[in-house]
């Protein structure tokens, strides 16, 4: 299939790996962080980690939206789901994210009306079909997903759907990236930038990374050749002492993003003062809430949402994994107490989470190599 196969060509991949090997100075090591969970998934799924020379290490960042949802927000959603007249709609991965007292799936097993949807449009359809019920969409995701929620809210407003609201947990990628860059724990030489977030916001907003922190960033696509090429572009920048934002995913990402989407986001959402990120703590201006013009569709205004803060389980080291301080397999509970079937930490829940991706694709190769 064109467009996909041409970015999975084994011969081209081997040639790119050869160029990557040649670009690394003997004895030198380079740490690159992929910010986005989609890249983490691709890296493990296609075995890219195993193709790289010893001197190139990939570190997994905080770009999985399910993984960064704090337990308190899950508890808020479950509390709403347990209300008698409420239908709680959410994406599939969210169903298994643990709160302090179980998951959405547990609440569903207890009788709550929790439904999995593939888009906010599906949640709006449920609202239209159930005029006697309150339908709450548990909205998560970065700038990639927020436009879909915003379009649906515009539509709900236009159609005057009175029984639809959103519990908004949309987050923005730039503040946590800045927080990571100021973290004393961080030792990263360059970043693989999130391609689909950049489809919406563009490549330009990432310019603060080289300008303020002296780290190169390459916005990348998600096919194996995309990721390999992005790695090669980062190594070339380091070798040539360049430090800039480059756009490997130019076939999809314009420098200025999608102006209509940005206009829409500005109409529907505004920044929250603070938002808690799982494992990273509170980060200023890092999440969205609904503007007053959309207040009627805001579940936090329509219902009594407790908004309680809940500490992460002590055994869970998602925070260190999300900051790239430790690898998934270095977490104390990885693969034993914490598995995709019984996740303690959120990184093990979503298929984009570093722990789940490694558990599903990477651990066997590592175990074999160590044997």
């Amino acid at each position: 299939m064109r467009y996909v196969d041409e970015f999975r060509d084994p011969g081209l991949a081997r040639a790119l790996v050869g160029e990557i090997v040649a670009a690394v100075e003997p004895g030198k090591s380079v740490k690159l962080m992929e910010v986005c969970g989609g890249h983490t998934h691709s890296i493990y799924r296609y075995g890219i980690d195993d193709l790289l020379p010893e001197g190139v290490e990939l570190v997994h960042g905080p770009g999985c939206p399910v993984c960064v949802i704090p337990m308190g927000r899950v508890d808020d959603g479950i509390r709403l789901a347990r209300e008698a007249d409420v239908v709680l709609a959410c994406f599939g991965d969210m169903l298994r994210v643990p709160g302090s007292d179980g998951t959405f799936l547990d609440a569903k097993a207890d009788g709550a009306d929790v439904r999995m949807v593939y888009s906010p449009l599906d949640a709006l359809r449920i609202a239209r079909e159930n005029p006697g019920r309150e339908v709450v969409f548990f909205a998560i995701g970065f700038e990639t997903t927020a436009p879909s929620t915003a379009l649906t809210l515009q539509r709900a407003k236009r159609e005057k759907v009175g029984n639809f609201s959103c519990l908004v947990n949309h987050v923005t990628i730039l503040p946590p990236l800045r927080a990571l860059l100021t973290s004393p724990d961080l030792r990263i030489d360059g970043f693989i930038g999130p391609g689909h977030v950049a489809t919406v916001i563009g490549a330009r907003p990432f310019e603060f990374v080289p300008r303020d922190y002296g780290k190169p960033l390459v916005v990348s696509g998600f096919e194996p050749l995309d990721v390999l090429q992005a790695i090669h572009m980062l190594l070339a920048q380091l070798a040539e002492s360049r430090c800039e934002v480059e756009n490997q995913y130019r076939r999809v990402v314009p420098d200025d993003g999608n102006p209509k989407a940005l206009e829409l986001l500005a109409e529907v959402f505004e920044l929250r003062e603070h938002f808690e990120w799982r494992g990273l703590g509170f980060i200023s201006h890092s999440a969205l809430r609904l503007r007053d013009a959309y207040g009627d569709f805001d579940a936090e205004r329509r219902f009594d949402v407790p908004g309680v803060r809940v500490a992460d389980p002590k055994a869970c080291q998602c925070g260190e994994v999300l900051k790239g301080v430790i690898k998934p397999w270095e977490c104390k509970v990885f693969g034993t107490a914490c598995t995709p079937e019984h996740a303690i930490g959120t990184c093990m829940v979503s298929s984009e989470g570093a722990c789940a991706a490694y558990y599903n694709y990477g651990r066997f190769a590592r175990e074999k190599a160590e044997a």
């Binding site: 299939m1 064109r2 467009y3 996909v4 986005c36 969970g37 989609g38 890249h39 998934h41 799924r45 770009g63 999985c64 939206p65 399910v66 994406f91 599939g92 991965d93 969210m94 593939y118 888009s119 906010p120 449009l121 599906d122 998560i140 995701g141 970065f142 990639t144 997903t145 436009p147 879909s148 379009l151 649906t152 539509r155 999130p194 391609g195 689909h196 977030v197 489809t199 919406v200 998600f222 076939r251 999809v252 990402v253 999608n258 209509k260 989407a261 829409l264 979503s350 298929s351 984009e352 599903n360």
Partner: protein
């Protein structure tokens, strides 16, 4: 999850190339789109100016985010 890959297309920073097959009769901002595995779904195309049947779009969580330069249209 898509049928052929263990990955979530809705909540990660993931999107799928899809071909715009036809517009909704009642709502010109909605269209039926077809994925590479034949999956059909209703997509909001309001963010793509002058989207047209046959075009390849990058779709995420029920919304088209970008126009692709070429792609599924070539596959028929």
């Amino acid at each position: 999850m898509t049928n052929d890959e263990r990955r979530c297309v809705t909540c990660g920073d993931l999107a799928e190339p899809m071909r715009l097959a036809a517009f909704d009769r009642d709502d010109p901002e909605l269209a039926v789109c077809v994925g590479k595995d034949g999956t059909r779904c209703v997509v909001d195309v309001g963010l793509i100016p002058d989207a047209a049947p046959g075009e390849s779009l990058l779709v995420h969580a029920g919304a088209a985010l970008a126009r692709l330069p070429q792609g599924l249209r070539d596959e028929g």
